[in-house]
């Protein structure tokens, strides 16, 4: 295994980590609207991810930075090519981060309702668009001899990619519902389980169609294994949710994300962005990567710091392991809130 292959795996790991973690906090953001019946319940949901969403998002920044360092051409082609979807995602992430921090910092129904509306849409759109982006990466796009994307924004919205978007949207919603059931107590926990069932079944339909399509188009032996694991994990997650094993349901919905994203990367390898115009113009692990000095350096950095990150992020989840219910939400009376922020 050469260094650039190692880095392909590491980039895959970072994206998998990102989708696993931000997947459920996107899901919580999406569910904060349909699942919560009142402000207190909405706050319960938002507070299940309160201490962790920011750390989850850094997986994206690390995936981006690592791609820049290890595969500069991949980074350049991807972000300049998928300009408009990425712009929308960035705008969403900006508003979303501010929304979490500022929602409770002022009283007034309108102020809070606006931020709640923002949390919903800015969780939903990226959840959908990441699927669109990754489906397009795997399917291949119009890349010219200079490694530049020459298609349009509308070319990115092809049926396969839109289906990919639906997969991430439903899968993250499912993952979020399972997480909500695991992290809350009281009535909302019951409703989260019911929502998880619906979202799980919807995911099963679109994910199966998308993954089989992917396997038929660009699959190989290894991706088939990942596909089978993803499907089994998803069915297991739905079943575990049904029998009330919330911890297992969460592990398995997470495993679904891991296996599904891994399958996309396995189908992609050794390309990183195939060209639909000419096979010779495809970006591959070897023609898009940095030289060996940088790869070696970054391997050492990653080997030292990734376990450290996992350790202290894991500790955060331990510190905030308690379930949250409406009784834990400090004073609904507006006057008391100022004291709490």
């Amino acid at each position: 295994m050469q260094l650039h292959d190692v880095w392909f795996v590491l980039i895959a790991v970072l994206w998998i980590g990102y989708f696993f973690l931000e997947g459920f906090d996107f899901g919580i953001g999406i569910l904060s609207k349909p699942l919560a019946r009142n402000t207190a319940e909405r706050r319960v949901l938002i507070n299940t991810i309160g201490p962790v969403w920011d750390g989850n998002e850094v997986w994206l920044l690390t995936a981006g930075g690592a791609t820049f360092a290890a595969f500069p051409d991949w980074y350049a082609t991807l972000f300049s090519g998928f300009y408009i979807p990425l712009l929308i995602i960035l705008v969403c992430l900006i508003i979303r981060g501010v929304a979490f921090e500022y929602r409770a910092k002022r009283d007034g129904a309108r102020w809070q309702r606006n931020w709640e509306e923002a949390i919903f849409w800015t969780s939903l759109l990226p959840a959908f668009l990441w699927g669109v982006a990754f489906a397009n990466i795997v399917r291949g796009v119009d890349i010219d001899a200079q490694k530049n994307y020459v298609g349009t924004f509308w070319d990115l919205l092809n049926p396969y990619a839109l289906l990919g978007g639906l997969v991430t949207l439903t899968l993250f919603t499912f993952h979020g519902a399972v997480f909500a059931a695991l992290k809350t107590v009281g009535e909302i926990r019951e409703r989260a389980r019911q929502a998880a069932l619906k979202a799980g079944l919807a995911t099963a339909v679109v994910a199966l169609a998308f993954l089989v399509w992917t396997q038929a188009d660009s699959g190989n032996g290894r991706s088939l294994v990942a596909l089978v694991i993803a499907v089994l994990a998803l069915l297991g997650a739905i079943a575990a949710n049904q029998i009330g094993r919330e911890g297992w349901a969460f592990i398995l919905s997470g495993a679904t994300i891991v296996a599904a994203v891994a399958m996309l990367f396995l189908a992609l390898f050794p390309n990183v962005m195939p060209s639909t115009l000419n096979d010779a113009w495809s970006l591959t692990v070897s023609n898009a990567s940095s030289a060996s000095y940088t790869l070696r350096l970054m391997t050492i950095v990653a080997a030292v710091f990734t376990p450290l990150v996992l350790l202290y992020q894991g500790w955060t989840y331990w510190v905030f392991r308690k379930r949250i219910g409406v009784q834990h939400i400090p004073g609904h009376a507006p006057a008391a809130e100022l004291e709490q922020v």
Binding site: G65, A76, I95, V301
Partner: protein, 514 residues
């Protein structure tokens, strides 16, 4: 050709707007993180209530601020690929490494420990809780270090080679990138300026509250006054220490730049012709097309001293430097001259606004002193507003007092202005280069992104930033004006004293909730 110019111009505007906007929040984040950590440590060690309330108060303003810093930072990371794909392809091997390290080492630190700090008041032992904020502070400093190392490489590329096969830059020595003198001085300068920014911010808000308490003693809360008095003194000390540090590091950085980018420094001084000794320009009106100043007010020899610590040394001028660069890289000398107007005034505004805060801190530190050269009868207690004392027995008159407090308030944003001009100066002064001597900005843009798309993105981001700026400033003002919540009590029990499974407070509300 015209299209290419539009491309470059719009991409530069987006980069400039995003970066300057992002950097309004960064220095406050860096300094307030450490200040809040220091205040919390003081509370943990002394158990004095005023430190607890100060921690909560400044912590709140810090959180409002860091939220904006974080989200605008996301754009920073991705706009290289979006708008500057040819740049990314050319330098990714070198430039990507510090960026990836920043994310993996610094961003994770900041984001994880800030979550623990915000929500962990009653879940973590005091000392661990305070340590979390120190980790956040460490994260902000590391983040600054890595991104400044990357920027310094654009200012003065080292530790690389150009691959003859691909024509791209390749990293050969990371230590040179991380520890070259450009990086070290820039980090020193940026961090000291960041702390000057936080200091002025503290002084301004504390002055607001103390001046109000002075005018309306009947409504003043002694506990609030105690918090603000401590904050004021801390802010003033920091303003003096880091103001001096900013000046010192700025001088060092200037000398490095005279050597590495003579054009930037010549433009900063509107020094058209090489002179020995070279004068320091106080005021100038230039004629760029003719390459000279029509009006100039100068102090002889000072520029030579700033450049080389020698009043008679030679400092190369714009015209000669441009001719030399044209001879080396080809083309017209005029192509190598940055905007002298922006560079010249950017440099002056940076120094002017920054040093005003330093001087204000110096005066404030003297006049609010507690014991030094102060007659005992003028000494004030912990919960009183300090009297502004000129000499041991002479207090400022009412008018002077009023204006002193007002200046404290009015100058609170000065370092922010200085920071912005500093970045505008150093980035504009490097033009036409994106990477000095290696790649021009014009050849760095994404060739495949249409002008229409770029304009759409520029408008979107600018409008979004503007709206969020209004929201952010209004929140800051609201919480700054409200002052510390002195009725708030520290978490009653140290959670380390009870087992994790104790159910007695299973239904206790969260210490903090969104």
């Amino acid at each position: 050709m015209e299209l290419a110019i539009a491309h470059e111009t719009i991409a530069r505007w987006q980069f400039g707007i995003t970066t300057v906007y992002h950097f309004l929040f960064v220095p406050l984040t860096i300094s307030l993180a450490a200040i809040v950590a220091g205040l919390e440590t003081a509370w943990v060690r002394t158990n004095k209530e005023k430190y607890f309330h100060a921690t909560k108060f400044w912590g709140k303003l810090f959180l409002i601020n860091i939220a904006m810093g974080v989200v605008t930072g996301i754009v920073q990371e991705f706009q290289f690929g979006m708008n500057w794909s040819d740049y990314s392809r050319f330098v990714g091997d070198v430039f990507g490494a510090p960026l990836a390290m920043e994310a993996l080492i610094a961003f994770f630190f900041e984001s994880t420990f800030i979550g623990l700090w915000i929500f962990g008041w009653d879940k973590l032992p005091k000392k661990i809780h305070a340590a979390c904020m120190w980790m956040v502070a460490l994260g902000t400093v590391l983040s600054a270090y890595f991104i400044l190392a990357a920027n310094s490489w654009m200012q003065h590329p080292v530790g690389y080679t150009i691959d003859p096969a691909t024509g791209k830059a390749q990293l050969t020595d990371i230590a040179k990138v991380l520890f070259q003198n450009t990086t070290l001085t820039v980090v020193f300068h940026t961090l000291t300026a960041a702390f000057l920014t936080g200091a002025a911010f503290m002084v301004g808000i504390a002055s607001f509250h103390l001046w109000k308490a002075k005018r309306r003693p009947e409504t003043a809360d002694p506990k609030k006054t105690a918090v603000m008095r401590t904050s004021l003194r801390l802010g003033l000390v920091l303003a003096v220490v880091f103001g001096a540090g900013t000046a010192l590091s700025g001088d060092t950085l200037g000398k490095v730049m005279f050597e590495q980018q003579p054009m930037k420094m010549a433009a900063a001084e509107a020094l058209w012709d090489t002179q020995s000794p070279a004068p320091f320009s106080i005021f100038a009106v230039g004629d760029v097309s003719k390459g000279h100043n029509s009006v100039a007010l100068e102090v002889p020899g000072v520029l030579s001293f700033l450049a080389h610590n020698d009043f008679s040394s030679t400092v190369p001028g714009i015209n000669d430097t441009a001719a030399a660069e044209a001879a080396q890289h080809g083309g017209d000398p005029k192509d190598y001259i940055p905007s002298v107007f922006v560079t010249y005034w950017g440099f002056r505004f940076m120094i002017g606004f920054g040093m005003t805060s330093f001087v204000a801190g110096l005066i404030g530190l003297w006049t609010t002193r507690r014991k030094l050269f102060l007659h005992p009868e003028f000494r004030t207690g912990d919960t009183e507003v300090p009297r502004l004392m000129l000499t041991p027995k002479r207090e400022m008159g009412p008018l002077l007092t009023k204006w002193s407090w007002r200046i404290g308030i009015l100058t609170m944003g000065f370092p922010l202005i200085a920071n912005s001009f500093g970045w505008i100066f150093t980035e504009m002064g490097r033009q036409p280069w994106a990477v000095f001597g290696l790649m021009t900005t014009a050849s760095a843009v994404s060739p495949n992104v249409s002008v229409g798309t770029q304009i759409g993105a520029l408008v979107t981001f600018t409008l979004l930033y503007a709206v969020l700026a209004v929201v952010e400033v209004r929140l800051l003002v609201k919480y700054a004006k409200a002052g510390p919540v002195v009725t708030e009590q520290p978490p009653a029990k140290d959670p380390s004293l009870r087992g994790p499974s104790s159910d007695e407070d299973a239904d206790k509300p969260l210490a903090f909730a969104y």
